[in-house]
Symmetry: C2
Subunit: 361 residues, 2 copies
């Protein structure tokens, strides 16, 4: 994540993951979620925080989920239904579960199908927020599989290249692959210049947005550096920002996401219907294609080649997707997760109000 | 394609597709290729030309393939071998066929597996040039399936974000999905700012390259508009161009391509081994997930929404991937394909030298 998105040192409160995990589970349980559901959702959110993906951890998400459970927008006791199924595919109705709960369920189904038949793919409709895609794609790597996961929620934010009307959400995509001794490859990115949550985060930490990150409401990319503007005053751009920098490619990938997530799940076009978006989960068994040991040895060589790539002038090092996330995971597991004190305040006041005993510090 | 890549009007020779198809087949036959192989390869190349993807048609490719057959780098009579197979997956050794020949064979295998079991995925090693990915992904749409195809050849061209050493080729990716009455969705893009062939094409038509399209040999992005430089004097950049414009996302997708194509096929790391790259083909049966008619109706609504999106100031219209390709296909099928006269000269002199009777005009 760019430096400007990190919580400034003076505002940081380091919290041990066991504590924030317990508090998150307790808060979800208080909203009526089952023990298993609360455990799974906390696992997704805290893993994101441990990986440094705090835009998709508890800071931005949890209080919203609590509101959505309270307003019955989310179902705390969902019964996911399989609407159609083959040996390798399934279409699931999530029964308005929080996405973090039913997402794990769907990815496990894709993994089991891939274990039995080589490939597994699951299409999901009717859920709440998935909190990014990386967690689910990564799950496949723990079963020696390639993982792929996408979700298409929150339309009406992102203009297509050359367009003035916002059609898409941030339409994130994730792919993951295991290695031997190197940390797994894990790409988890919005197809916009910046994840929606990061604009909120930028506002919280007082960071500015780069040129070409957002568009005016007539679709024109804003080519100056500007403070994060209030919601409703701008549109998002596909990454690249302009046609010349390849934004049409990111728009095309956003549209792939829309089709795979919304049309395949039967939710229908995100830009035309007021829904929270469908999702797509896939796992590919590596052994169904090739020798697993050789694959992992080659992955190690490939990922080392990336990590050892000499940097261009002015840069410290070359990363690969998943490497800094792994390093953050190790250091935050040891030192705690640096939350903004405002987030810790919310936890503490919510727990005080509701009588939940789960101290963060 | 950007205007600067089009063949200038004064240099255009319009050729009817039947003529260039016949000439291409005859030239490939003259290199020893089977009737079926020549037909399939011509079909991929001429379809690319008809779609306006002339960077992956006969102009850049054919004379190279002829040289590669002559030097025995390509095998004119390949016997593809299935190295591993499950109901949904296969790994294929292409026996050094031209990729356009064995690519159709592999995509058909993925489609048949998807028809029988819901999903099909095929990994391919040891081939020549595939001529882009779009043709193969599109094949799935003709069977009411989603298509996905990638290939990872020609490493040592593209630096990773922040890097000074070129690790990747242009690592193109394609996805396709059918609609009802609207032309199919078809995304076929390099993960670099510009396809490798397009720099050659830019040199031929005298076009310049935009800022951020290529890097100096120390990895620094060149942020001025420059004429297309000679091969060997620059490196390519992932699309987006810089970290701030999301090049790390395109780098991450290029690495996904590398893993799915080279590690899964058993070819091994492209940057470390001097090979032409593996490929990945996948098809997903729409009916294995959802109702096909409803899917197509929703696709029409979605694609119409894109095509009807009001343009931002200064732009004429909003496209979706596959729309202008379809329009080009219709007009070029009718009016002929506008080749650069230098390309037509090559065909004519090659046919004259070899006694092939296949006039282009």
């Amino acid at each position: 994540m760019l430096e400007r998105f990190h919580v400034p040192e003076k505002d940081r409160v380091y919290v041990q993951q066991e504590r924030v995990r317990a508090a998150t589970e307790a808060i979800l349980r208080h909203s009526g979620v089952s023990a298993r559901g609360a455990k799974d959702s906390a696992e997704v959110l805290i893993t994101n925080d441990l990986r440094g993906v705090e835009s998709h951890g508890v800071s931005n998400g949890l209080r919203r989920y609590v509101r959505q459970y309270a307003s019955k927008e989310l179902n705390p006791r969902p019964k996911p239904k399989i609407l159609k199924e083959t040996s390798t595919t399934a279409r699931v109705d999530g029964d308005f579960a929080l996405g973090t709960e039913v997402g794990i369920w769907c990815m496990n189904m894709a993994i089991e199908k891939a274990r039995a038949h080589g490939v597994g793919a699951v299409s999901l409709k009717n859920t709440g927020h998935l909190a990014g895609c990386g967690y689910y794609a990564y799950m496949a790597t723990e079963h020696d599989m390639l993982g792929h996961m996408m979700t298409a929620g929150g339309g009406h934010q992102t203009v297509p290249t050359f367009g003035a009307k916002p059609l898409f959400g941030t339409n994130p995509v994730a792919w993951a692959a295991p290695a031997g001794k190197m940390p797994p490859y894990l790409l988890d990115v919005a197809t916009t210049q910046v994840a929606g949550n990061k604009i909120e985060l930028a506002r919280r930490v007082g960071a500015t947005l780069y040129p070409g990150w957002i568009a005016k409401k007539d679709g024109t990319p804003i080519m100056e550096e500007v403070p994060a503007p209030p919601a409703g005053t701008y549109y998002m751009l596909p990454f690249g920002g302009t046609r010349e920098n390849g934004s049409h490619k990111a728009y095309g990938i956003a549209l792939m996401n829309e089709i795979w997530c919304n049309e395949l799940s039967g939710m229908g076009p995100g830009p035309l219907l007021d829904h929270a978006g469908g999702s797509f989960f896939a796992a590919y068994s590596i052994e169904a294609f090739t020798d697993l040991k050789e694959f992992k040895k080659n992955m190690d060589r490939m990922l080392e080649e990336c990590a050892n790539c000499p940097p261009a002038p002015g840069f410290e090092r070359v990363l690969y997707p998943g490497l800094s996330e792994h390093e953050e995971f190790v250091s935050r597991s040891r030192d705690g997760i640096p939350y903004h004190r405002e987030v810790v305040d919310w936890f503490e006041s919510y727990c005080a109000e509701t009588g939940i005993k789960a101290p963060l510090r």
